[in-house]
């Protein structure tokens, strides 16, 4: 322990000395560290920053041959066309609706699962349960939707059972009216199990003596959950909520793309699929990029705003206030 402390003191003293060195000396000293970051930096610049500057497409009549640099400028024409397109507003409406349904029906599931699993005493049961519920997180969307199709689709297990018992059929997979619940069910099946990890960690961080004191004061099982477990998870719950709200405009892109043929574009069109079909498939890169830029800017505002709210509630949120 003392050894660690002296070492840290030495390291900190070293940092102070280093701060007073000229950048030439520092460069020689930290050269290898900087070189190590270069491959990642190059990839980030090529595939994240270049596309960021590529958003100029949203202000161009982009054509494939002229590229970014020679395509004629369009001013705000692409946005004018975008905002006049009823399909765009429809996609935005779908996005918000699906986001809201998922927030209401998906968000509480991992919290409830984590609290329930935490009350299981047998470690064998716990680790088996965790091993099983984490698994679907590692499946692709194509696989998950195929599984749903084989279970609930027109030729699936459910409808076969209904048919042989003369109960009619119930084709969940192609019904546009229930699509929002279907995709939420798929999201719960795939991700809710994995989602419990952070909540389990939060519960594990709660001081057990709090429970003992509460029990001594006569608080029952449910009161302890309400007054100790849930407040103990508050920080993580707020963090997850901030992330969820910040991503309100990105609801499962692949999930909708895969099921588009089954339920139709009417209910499955979200901002991302709109951008894809308008831009890549329809060759209208300018409008597609304008939709993407609109989404990017609104998402940025959402995440900053959600984080502000988290700070107002006295939580850390996504990043800390001062550092």
């Amino acid at each position: 322990m003392t050894a660690t402390i002296t070492r840290n003191v030495k390291a900190e003293a070293g940092d102070d000395v280093r701060r007073r060195m000229t950048w030439r000396v520092r460069l020689r000293h930290d050269k290898s560290l900087i070189i190590m970051t270069l491959p990642a930096l190059a990839l980030i610049i090529a595939f994240n920053y270049l596309p960021m500057f590529g958003t100029v497409t949203a202000f161009q009549y982009y054509d494939y041959i002229s590229g970014f640099f020679a395509s004629p400028w369009a001013g705000l024409d692409n946005f004018r066309q975008l905002f006049r397109d009823a399909n765009f507003w429809h996609a935005l409406e779908n996005t918000l609706l699906l986001s809201f349904v998922q927030l209401a029906l998906y968000f509480p599931v991992p919290i409830a699962l984590a609290i329930m699993l935490n009350s299981v005493l047998s470690s064998k049961v716990r680790s088996f349960f965790q091993a099983v519920v984490y698994l679907p997180h590692f499946f692709s969307w194509v696989l998950v939707i195929t599984l749903f199709q084989e279970m609930l689709g027109g030729a699936g297990v459910l409808n076969h059972f209904l048919r042989i018992n003369d109960l009619g059929t119930w084709d969940v997979m192609t019904n546009p009216d229930t699509f929002k619940y279907l995709v939420t069910a798929q999201a719960v099946w795939k991700e809710a199990g994995w989602g419990i990890i952070v909540f389990l960690a939060a519960i594990a961080g709660i001081n057990p003596s709090l429970y003992e004191a509460a029990a001594a004061d006569g608080a029952g099982r449910w009161r302890r959950m309400w007054h100790i477990t849930l407040p103990g998870m508050r920080g993580v719950i707020v963090l997850m909520l901030v992330l969820r709200l910040g991503n309100a405009l990105s609801v499962g892109f692949e999930q909708f793309l895969i099921q588009r043929n089954a339920v139709g574009a009417g209910v499955s069109e979200v901002l991302d699929t709109y951008s894809y079909y308008y831009g890549v498939v329809g060759n209208n890169y300018g409008v597609g990029a304008a939709a993407g830029l609109f989404k990017g800017v609104v998402s940025l505002i959402l995440i900053l705003a959600a984080n502000k709210v988290a700070h107002a509630l006295g939580e850390d949120g996504l990043y800390r206030r001062s550092k």
Partner: protein
């Protein structure tokens, strides 16, 4: 957590109804996940007779099990090629991602090193704002000529800033004392990374390898974006999408060569075999990684 913890003395005895409700709910959750997997696996091994009798997906195979669907799928043709492509992309991509991420995480792990704050900020900005789908597509397909190139499935998504931050947090907390000690002993940074940091952070390396690997194995939209028309370049996920999910007719599937007297595997069994094949690599790697989740992924994610 390895042994069963006893019930604390102050806790009240559970009621029978409560136990029943809890056990029941946990069992339902488990069954909801396991039943679909069981059905798909069993159907892929089923004979045509079992499938006819069940009228589709098989739950109780009445007429024995067969490997026919798999020998058909793996004896060359679309699925075999797609498996090899997917494995190749996954191995190459994971290698690139891990080397780049580990180097970068270590490069950013020392406080007050020159430029580390600026570089870190450059990475973090991309978590909040991105160019979006269309500009990325144009950069990859048009600017770098990545259309129908395998690297287009790897390089654009090779770096995950989130993963780098997790690895970095791990190096800064767990391995810190060892790094400081090695530095005082005069070891260079490459040396420290190779013989001090990597051997002591196997958990985070394992978990990140799994995350990247699964990402490449599961990638589907990249294929739709960069090589939708070139069937000979499709990895297994896209084959699953096109021939099983969307029900397109698979070239080289049994109907194409009807040999009299030769028992053909059932079409549904073939489709389910494709599903199982996409599952297998995950099922193989998963048990080895599972024990690291709590340790590796968590400490990093929460503290990061």
């Amino acid at each position: 957590m390895t042994t069963t913890s006893a019930r604390p003395v102050w806790e009240e005895k559970p009621t029978f109804l409560g136990q029943l409700g809890k056990g029941g709910s946990l069992a339902v959750v488990l069954l909801l996940i396991l039943i679909p997997l069981y059905c798909v696996i069993i159907t892929s091994f089923s004979t045509q007779a079992s499938i006819n009798e069940a009228g589709g997906i098989v739950i109780f195979p009445a007429h024995g099990l067969t490997l026919q669907a798999y020998s058909e799928m793996l004896s060359g043709g679309v699925v075999t090629r797609a498996m090899i492509i997917a494995l190749g992309v996954t191995l190459a991509g994971t290698a690139v991602s891990m080397v780049v991420s580990v180097l970068c995480a270590y490069g950013l792990s020392r406080q007050n090193s020159l430029g580390h704050r600026t570089i870190l900020l450059t990475f973090i900005v991309t978590m909040f704002f991105g160019g979006g789908l269309i500009p990325t597509f144009i950069v990859v397909a048009n600017l770098f000529n990545g259309y129908e190139q395998y690297w287009a499935l790897i390089l654009p998504s090779a770096v995950s800033v989130f993963n780098i931050l997790i690895i970095r947090a791990f190096y800064m907390s767990t391995a810190r004392d060892l790094i400081d000690a090695a530095r005082i002993d005069g070891a260079g940074d490459w040396r420290i990374l190779w013989s001090v940091v990597l051997p002591t952070s196997k958990a985070v390396t394992a978990v990140m390898t799994l995350f990247y690997g699964v990402g490449y194995w599961n990638s589907w939209f990249n294929v739709m974006l960069y090589m939708p028309a070139n069937e000979s370049k499709w990895p297994i996920q896209y084959v699953l999408y096109e021939y099983v999910n969307q029900g397109a007719f698979m070239p080289g599937a049994p109907a194409a060569h009807d040999v009299a007297g030769h028992a053909q595997p059932a079409p549904l069994a073939l489709q389910m075999a494709v599903v199982v094949l996409t599952l297998i690599p995950i099922m193989i790697v998963y048990p080895f990684m599972q024990k690291h989740f709590a340790k590796g992924a968590l400490t990093g994610a929460i503290k990061g």
